[in-house]
Amino acid sequence: MAVTPTIRVQADDFDVAAEIEAVAAGRTDIGAVVTFTGLCRDENGRLSALELEHYPGMAEAEIGRIANEAIARFGLSGLTAIHRCGKIAPGGNIVLVVAASSHRQAAFDGANFLMDYLKTSAPFWKKEHAASGQTGDWVAARDADDEARLRWQKVGGES
């Protein structure tokens, strides 16, 4: 049976328990559910918020492409990715991934893979708002994120 990922970009917060439930409820073939929640940090008090800009349409499409690749590659039973947009205060949720599989390593790898690709190829941009009230800089892309993504090519021999 084809597994269809659930992809959403929304300003509203998400409910991790409800999203796990949506993936796993009523099923008896799922042995492992891994969730990843990315949260806004205040960078030692420096920030009052992060503002997330995205490319509507392409953001959902791109996450969907990555999600389908993760489902196929790791044999996932269910996969959900939710990315918030707009202004998010420190401690607030930014992104959620829920990956379900019959076995635990597939669930871990599926969630990890999705996050690595999402960070480097889903069209979202973070702008910092300083605690001083000033609008700060756009967050710079990190080489470490590109390297994290590359490891999936080394391991599996595929893109």
């Binding site: 800009e53 995205h54 490319y55 791109e62 930014i94 992104v95 190829s121 069209p123 941009w125 702008k127």
Partner: protein, 85 residues
């Protein structure tokens, strides 16, 4: 053929608009050509696109390498490296 150009993040801020419609000259074949052409369209474009190699481009909502032809793409987006997640 009119193209819709869309800008995001600091590319949008520097150009000073989030989107526009443009007819592109025939000499603009590849993504690289497009970036070079836009840099000639005013100070704001030059400021936004001066480091062209860091600019990411999507053709009809799919990532495109700078060497790719823009072909019949109707929606062309320019933006900095992504920082979501």
């Amino acid at each position: 053929m009119k193209r819709k150009l869309i800008y995001f993040a600091w590319v949008r801020e520097r150009i000073g608009k989030s989107e526009e419609e443009r007819e592109l000259p025939e000499s603009v074949v590849s993504v690289s050509d497009l970036l070079a052409y836009l840099q000639t369209q005013g100070d704001e474009y030059e400021a936004a696109l001066q480091h062209a190699h860091v600019i990411r481009v999507a053709l009809d909502q799919e990532h495109a390498d700078h060497r790719e032809p823009i072909g019949n793409a109707r929606e062309i987006a320019l933006f900095p490296p992504m920082t979501g997640g």
